[in-house]
Symmetry: C2
Subunit: 243 residues, 2 copies
């Protein structure tokens, strides 16, 4: 049904008029609209433009989709083709570490999908992003709109790719910074996550630009015990139990 | 460039021959193949068929894509339309808790995207799946092919949606069961994850069938401290630090 609509649109846009084919005839073309194999072509994007989009995107469909849609809409506009087949809200589920479960930070999950779509070396690219994420004071993005326009915000180092660890560490630092308790369910924490969404989206684009246009080659991180996270962050007790 | 290739393929498939349009003329059709808004239509699927596909899919592109591609290929065949625009290896990145980082179990990440694509209530659907995942002895699927054909395998309760916790708990139980150390990087552990991929894919389809055809309505789980995980599993020490 949808394929018919797509082809109907294509016909409306000019193909059909010169042709005189009926819609069912066009719709019967096998493989029409089928996604080509990955990776898909990437063109150089502007990290600042993507960051601004991602900041706004956070307040619409949360962190994961914020990163994803900010980059995909740019690629839909500049490359078109297969990117048009991806629905813009499909990564909404990744918000709050997957539907609020506090597992992987949604910004990383959204960016990871972008790497999978655009890079042969998507795994080491994800490694580079995660390593940067957990060792860098974030967020660095400052918006030029909204209630916190141009206001500085505290930064924290997460030491982890996990949403709830990252959030709790920031809240602790923000509580000292603002001189009042900043809980995980506050507007300030949302704003921090919006800025983080913008920051990670910009970093993802910088890495993609470097990979595709500046010869950057990422180095894969070796894991152990089925993780690349630093076990010591959480497990003084349970690692013994597990070993 | 890719759009041109895609349209070239469409032309080859039959549209062009009868038409005589040049590729640039067709490529200029604006909005061709644009994804319609979510959720997309869902038809009843066979959990057993999907499980068998997912089991094989694990050995091709790991756990996350194993669940995702097993369900999407069925929907591509039975619904077609917008599902054809999704590339089958796009969730490969989710393997091993996102590129081996050991965060969210890839099977849950892949299933979560399926819920986002097909259900308005995707968040509580994810809650139901995660809660089942962390409280049920898994995996239950037994393959009828491959080196472990029809062989029983030990089950474990993960108490967590995290890959590396889930894996380590299973390895501990498997070590007792098989009477020899079963490390995280063993063939037996891979087979366990292949069976888990099949088990979660089947459960996802059962939940989708129940939601779309049997009136099942999921209940959202309330989180705290930006997570729905049980903090006590890991944090006897660091929760104090964070509070």
């Amino acid at each position: 049904m949808e394929r018919r609509k797509f082809l109907k649109d294509a016909l409306k846009a000019g193909v059909g008029m010169a042709v005189g084919l009926t819609i069912p005839e066009v719709a019967s073309a096998k493989g029409a609209g089928k996604a080509p194999p990955l990776p898909w072509p990437y063109v150089k994007l502007d990290p600042k433009k993507v960051a601004d989009k991602a900041y706004r995107g956070y307040y619409e469909h949360e962190c994961c989709d914020g990163v994803f849609a900010a980059i995909i809409t740019e690629l839909q506009e500049k490359v078109g083709g297969p990117y048009l087949g991806l629905p813009l809200t499909m990564m909404w589920y990744g918000g709050g570490g997957v539907a609020g479960w506090g597992t992987i930070c949604g910004t990383l999950n959204g960016a990871a999908l972008i790497f999978n779509l655009t890079c042969k070396d998507f795994k080491p690219m994800i490694d580079v992003l995660c390593e940067w994420y957990q060792t860098t004071p974030l967020p660095t993005y400052v918006p030029c709109e909204g209630p916190y326009c141009k206001k500085p915000f505290p930064k924290s180092v997460s030491h982890s790719p996990l949403c709830h660890v990252s959030v709790q560490r920031w809240c602790k630092i923000a509580t000292v910074y603002f001189g009042e308790t900043v809980p995980y369910n506050s507007k300030k924490r949302s704003e921090r996550c919006a800025r983080l969404t913008a920051t990670v989206a910009a970093k993802t684009v910088e890495l993609l630009n470097a990979y595709h246009f500046e010869g950057f080659r990422p180095k894969k991180i070796k894991g152990k015990q089925k993780t690349k996270m630093d076990c010591r962050l959480c497990h003084e007790v349970t690692m013994k139990e597990l070993s």
